[in-house]
C-alpha cells in the first residue's frame, strides 16, 4: 500500500471525543490538557525540591543557629533536590509540558499520533512522582546517596534511606523512564509523521527542533539509566554485585565481590550528560522562537541553528566522562573527553552569537518574555563559559567537587532553563488560557529572580576556587578557607530565601491572571507560527477546526521587506500577503 502522509488523510482520522468533565480534563487524551497536567505536576514537585534547597541553605548559611536538620536530613535533601529538579521538574516540564503542548500545534497536527499512549505517559509519570514522594514516609526516609546515587555507598549502611528509600527512588526512576518513553516515541513520531502540508523539516520552528532532538537524545540515553537503575536495584535488594566489589562495611566483610563502582559512573553519565542537553535543547529552541518573535526579526542563521542542535545532540553522547576526571578511571580518557567537551562548546557558542545577532538590527519589543530572553542570554553566557573550565581536564582537577561546580551547573542548568521556562510561560500563557499574564508582576518577578539568582551563584564559583567542597553538611575550621567564607555563605542563603519567596509572586500571577488577566487576542504577539493561527483561542480539541492548516513559508518571516505588516504567518500563501509597496515579490518571504 502506498504511503500516505497523515495530513493527506485527515478526514480518516478519529479523535477520541471528550464526553464528560472526566474524559476532558482527567483521563484526557488531548495533548494540550496532558501538557498542563504534566506542567502542574512538575511545578508542584519542583516546589518540594525548592523547599529542600532552602533547608540546605539554612544549614549552610547558619550552621549553628538553624541546626534543625541533621546530617542525614541534609544529605537526603541534597539528593532529592537534585533528582527532582533535573528529572521530575526540568525533563518533565520541558518535554512532557512544552513538548506536548507545542509539537502538535506548531507542526499543524490535530494531536499526538498516539493519544492514548500520551495519556498513559502522564499517569505513569504521576505514579513515578508519587512513588518518589512515598519515600519520604518510609522508615529511614528517602535516600541520601547524592543525586548520582553512586554505589557502593548508595546501598550500604552509613547512608540514609538504605531501607525503603533507595528502592523507591530506583523504582520511581524506572517508572519515569517508562513514562518518558511513551511520551518520547509520541513526540518523535508526531514530528516525523503528522506535520501538516507544506511543513517541511527545515520550516519547523526551532522550539520543535529542540524538543524533537532532545527527545531522540532521551530515547537513546534513558535506557542506560534504566539498566543502571535495575542493576543497582538488584544490588540493593537481592545482594548481587554488579557495582559492588569486596568491601568492609561497618567493620564486617560484605558478601559482594567483583563489581565495579566505576562501571556505574560510566553508565550513569552516559545517560547523565545527554540529560543536560535533554534539558538544554528544548530551552535553546524555545529561546530562539521567543527572541525572534519579540525582536520582530527572523532568527539569525536558522540552518546553522538546526545543524548546531543536531551537532550538540550527537556530540553530547561522547563527552560523558568529563564528569569523571577525578573518578579513578583510566587517566588517558581525560585527553579524549576534554577534547570532545571543548568541541561541543563551538556549536553552543554559535547559538549564543545567533541569538544576539537576531536582536542586532531588530525592532526589540520590551515585553516580559523579551526580558527573560535577555536574562537567559546573560546567564547562559556565564554558565557556558564556566563550563569551559570544568570541561578542560587540567583546569577541572582543582575545581572538581567544589562549589565552583555547584555554581556552574546551577547557572547553566538551573537558572538558565528556568528563565526560559518563565519566558515561555509568559509567552504562551495567552494561548493556553486565553488571558494575558500581568505585566507588572511579570517584570518584578523577572528583576528579582535575575539579580537574586546571580547573587546566589556568582559567589559560589569563587568559594569553590578557594576550595570550599560540595556536599559538606558543615565546614568547621580549615587551613584554607578565609573567615569571610562563612559570611558569604550566609549571604547566599539569604539570597536563596529571597528568590524562593519571589517565586510566590509568579505562582500568584499564574492564578490571578487566570481569572482577572486581560483577555488575550488570538495572536497577541503577532507571531508567525501555527499555534497562533488556530481558529479558536484557546484551541479546542483537534486544534484546527474542519481543515488542517497548510504551510507556505518558514517560521521566521518577520519584517519582510515590502510586506505591509511586520510578520507573515506560516499559513499565508505568497499571493495573499498584503503589500506595502511594489518592492515585495514574495520570493524573499519564501526563504527555505
Amino acid at each position: 500500500m502506498a504511503y500516505v502522509a497523515l495530513a493527506d488523510k485527515d478526514h480518516e482520522q478519529h479523535l477520541h471525543d471528550p464526553q464528560s468533565f472526566i474524559s476532558k480534563y482527567i483521563w484526557s487524551q488531548d495533548h494540550k490538557v496532558i501538557a498542563v497536567q504534566y506542567s502542574l505536576t512538575a511545578i508542584a514537585i519542583g516546589m518540594v525540591a525548592l523547599v529542600l534547597s532552602l533547608m540546605m541553605r539554612l544549614q549552610l548559611g547558619f550552621p549553628d543557629t538553624f541546626s534543625f536538620i541533621t546530617p542525614d536530613e541534609y544529605y537526603q535533601a541534597i539528593t532529592l533536590h537534585g533528582m527532582i529538579m533535573v528529572i521530575y521538574l526540568l525533563t518533565a516540564l520541558l518535554l512532557g509540558g512544552f513538548g506536548n503542548y507545542l509539537i502538535p500545534l506548531m507542526v499543524g497536527a490535530r494531536d499526538m499520533v498516539f493519544p492514548f499512549m500520551n495519556m498513559l505517559s502522564y499517569w505513569v509519570y504521576l505514579l513515578s512522582v508519587l512513588v518518589l514522594c512515598a519515600s519520604f514516609f518510609v522508615s529511614g526516609g528517602p535516600t541520601g546517596a547524592g543525586w548520582t546515587l553512586y554505589p557502593p555507598q548508595a546501598v550500604l549502611p552509613g547512608t540514609p534511606g538504605i531501607g525503603g528509600g533507595i528502592v523507591l527512588m530506583l523504582v520511581s526512576l524506572v517508572l519515569f523512564i517508562v513514562a518518558f518513553t511513551m511520551g518520547g516515541l509520541n513526540y518523535v513520531t508526531t514530528v516525523l509523521q503528522a506535520r501538516c502540508r507544506g511543513m517541511t523539516l527545515m520550516r519547523m520552528p526551532l522550539s520543535v527542533w529542540g524538543i524533537f532532538v532532545a527527545t531522540i537524545l532521551g530515547l537513546l540515553a534513558f535506557p542506560a539509566l534504566l539498566v543502571t537503575g535495575i542493576m543497582l536495584l538488584l544490588d540493593a535488594v537481592l545482594g548481587t554485585s554488579f557495582f559492588m566489589p569486596a568491601i568492609l562495611s561497618m567493620g564486617e566483610q560484605t558478601k559482594t565481590a567483583g563489581g565495579s563502582p566505576i562501571l556505574f559512573q560510566h553508565l550513569f553519565w552516559f545517560f547523565g550528560h545527554p540529560e543536560v542537553y535533554i534539558v538544554a535543547l528544548p530551552a535553546f529552541g524555545v529561546i530562539s522562537d521567543l527572541v525572534s518573535v519579540h525582536a520582530r526579526k527572523n532568527i539569525f542563521g536558522y540552518r546553522m541553528m538546526v545543524w548546531a542542535i543536531l551537532a550538540i545532540g550527537g556530540i553530547s553522547f561522547i563527552v560523558w566522562a568529563h564528569h569523571m576526571y577525578v573518578s579513578g578511571m583510566n587517566p588517558y580518557f581525560g585527553f579524549f573527553f576534554a577534547t570532545t567537551t571543548l568541541i561541543i562548546a563551538i556549536p553552543t557558542a554559535l547559538k549564543i552569537y545567533n541569538w544576539v545577532l537576531t536582536l542586532w538590527r531588530g525592532d526589540i519589543r520590551m515585553t516580559v518574555p523579551m526580558f527573560f530572553v535577555i536574562g537567559f542570554i546573560f546567564t547562559f553566557i556565564n554558565g557556558g563559559l564556566t563550563g569551559l573550565f570544568l570541561g578542560n581536564v587540567a583546569v577541572d582537577i582543582p575545581l572538581s567537587d567544589t562549589y565552583f561546580v555547584v555554581g556552574h551547573f546551577h547557572m547553566v542548568m538551573g537558572v538558565s532553563p528556568i528563565l526560559v521556562i518563565f519566558g515561555a510561560i509568559y509567552h504562551w500563557y495567552p494561548k493556553i488560557t486565553g488571558r494575558m499574564l500581568n505585566d507588572t508582576m511579570g517584570k518584578i518577578h523577572f528583576w528579582l529572580t535575575l539579580f537574586g539568582t546571580y547573587a546566589i551563584y556568582l559567589p559560589m564559583h569563587y568559594l569553590g576556587i578557594q576550595g570550599l567542597p560540595r556536599r559538606y553538611y558543615a565546614m568547621g575550621d580549615t587551613s584554607f578557607l578565609d573567615e569571610s567564607t562563612q559570611a558569604m555563605n550566609a549571604g547566599i542563603s539569604v539570597a536563596a530565601l529571597f528568590v524562593a519567596v519571589v517565586q510566590l509572586l509568579f505562582l500568584f500571577n499564574l492564578f490571578w491572571s487566570l481569572f482577572k488577566g486581560k483577555r488575550a487576542e488570538k495572536n497577541p504577539w503577532k507571531a508567525t507560527t501555527l499555534e497562533w493561527q488556530t481558529p479558536d483561542n484557546p484551541p479546542v480539541h483537534g486544534n484546527w477546526g474542519p481543515e488542517l492548516p497548510v504551510v507556505h513559508r518558514w517560521a521566521y518571516d518577520y519584517s519582510v521587506p515590502g510586506a505591509a505588516r511586520d510578520y507573515i504567518p506560516q499559513t499565508m500563501a505568497p499571493e495573499d500577503v498584503p503589500r506595502a509597496d511594489d518592492s515585495y515579490h514574495g520570493e524573499e518571504g519564501e526563504h527555505q
Binding site: 541533621t70 568492609l248 561497618m250 526579526k297 539569525f300 538590527r361 526580558f371 569551559l388 573550565f389 568547621g476
Partner: protein, 450 residues
Amino acid sequence: MAIAIGILVLVVITLLFHFMSPWWFTPIASNWSSIDLTVDITFWITGFVFVVVNLFLVWVVIKYRHKEGRKAHYEPESKKLETWLSVITTVGVVAMLAPGLWVYGKVTQVPEDAEVVEVIGQQWHWSFRFPGADGVLGQTSVAVMSVDNPFGMRADDPAGQDDILIADAELHLPIDQPYKFVLRSKDVLHNFTVPQFRVKMDLVPGMSPYAWLTPTRKGRFDIMCEELCGIAHHTMRGVLVVEDEGDFQTWLQGYPTYAETAARPAGNPEVGQATYGLCGTCHGAQAEGIQQLNAPKLAGLDSWYMSRQLRNYKAGVRGAHEADSYGAQMAPMAATLVDDLAIDNVLAYIGTLPDESAPATIAGDAEHGKDLFITCESCHGKQGQGIWALNAPRLSGMNDWYIIRQLDNYRQGIRGAHPQDLYGKQMGFMARVVRDEQDINDLVAYINSL
C-alpha cells in the same frame, strides 16, 4: 533600556566581584602551579568573551529597541559572519585546550624518582602506609581485615613485612620530594584532596587510582574527602604536614612496621591486674564506674578505644583543655602507664572483668531519643555496640552521666579541639546534632534502653 542597564550592571558587578573578592586560590604548596596557570588562561579568555559578548548585547538592546517607525532588518543568514565567528571561537577553544592537555599530560606521568605512599580511606577516616625499606607496598585484601589487622595486610607477602603502618589521620611528607599517592578504599568512594596541592583523585574500592605531586611549601594542611561517602562525609578530615627530611624521618620512625604490629604480644591480664589497682580506686574494683568520683565504667568498653584515649591523655591530646578538670585528673594517672605494653596489660585485665549494664540515672523521652540516635547509629552501631572500623566506641550499657558530660564537652569544644585529636574533632561535628539539654537527655534515655 532598563534591561540593557540591568545587564551592564551585572557585568560590572561580576568584574568587581572577580577582582575584589577575597576568595581565590589558597597559596599553592605543590609543584602544580602549571594547573593554576591553565585556570588563569581560561579566566582571561572566557572573561574577555564574557565582557565583549555582553557589552555587544547591551549595545544592541539599546540601539535597536522599539521606536515608532523602526523596522527590523531582514537577513536570514550571513555565511561570512557565521564562518568568522566559528573560526574565532575555534581559536579561543584551542588556546584553552592546548595548554590544558599539555599540563594534563604531566599530571598523568609520574616521575621516575617519585616515592610511594598509600592513602587509605574508610568511612570516615584516613590512614596511610609507606612501603618501607624495600620500596614495595605489600599486598592487601579485604578478606583479612579485622580489628587486629585494620590495614588488611596479607601475612604471606614478604613485601609487606617492612611496610610502615600509619593508623592515624595525620600524614607527614618531606618537602621537595615527589610522591606518588596510591589510593585505596576499604568501603565506598572517597576522594583525596589537599586544596593547596591542587590535584585530587577518588578512592575506589577494588581499584588503585593514583595522583602525584611534589610538596613545595612547609606547613600543616587539611586533607579533605571530596566524594560523598555517607552521613559523616563532612567530618572525614585528615592532616598533611610538610616538613624537612630530618623531621619527616623522625616522625616516620615513631610508627611500627607490619611485622612489628603482627609480632606484638597480647596484653597479659595478670600483669595488668596489679597495675589496675590504682585505676580501681576511682573506676571501681570491677571497673563498674563510680559517679561520685566522676570515673566512668570501663568494663565492656572497646580496648582499642581505651588504648587510644590513654595514649591521648599521655600525649596531652586529651585532658589538656583548661576547662576539662576531670580530664586533668586522668592525665597524670595515664602517665603512670609507662609504655604501650603496660597499656595493653591493663586493658587485658579490664577485658576480663564482668560487664554489667550501668544503672540509668537520667530520665528522658526515649522515643524522641530514638529519632536523634539515627545519626549516632551510623558510627556507633544500631545497638550502640561500638564499631572498631568506624573508630566509634560502645555507648550502650555505659554510664549515661558520663556520655552526657562528654557530649557537653564536645559541644563546647572542650574535647575534640586539640589539633591532633582528629577523631575527637569528628565527634565535635556530630555532637552539634543535639541542640539542648532535653535532646541530650532523650538521646541518653534511648541509649539506656538498648
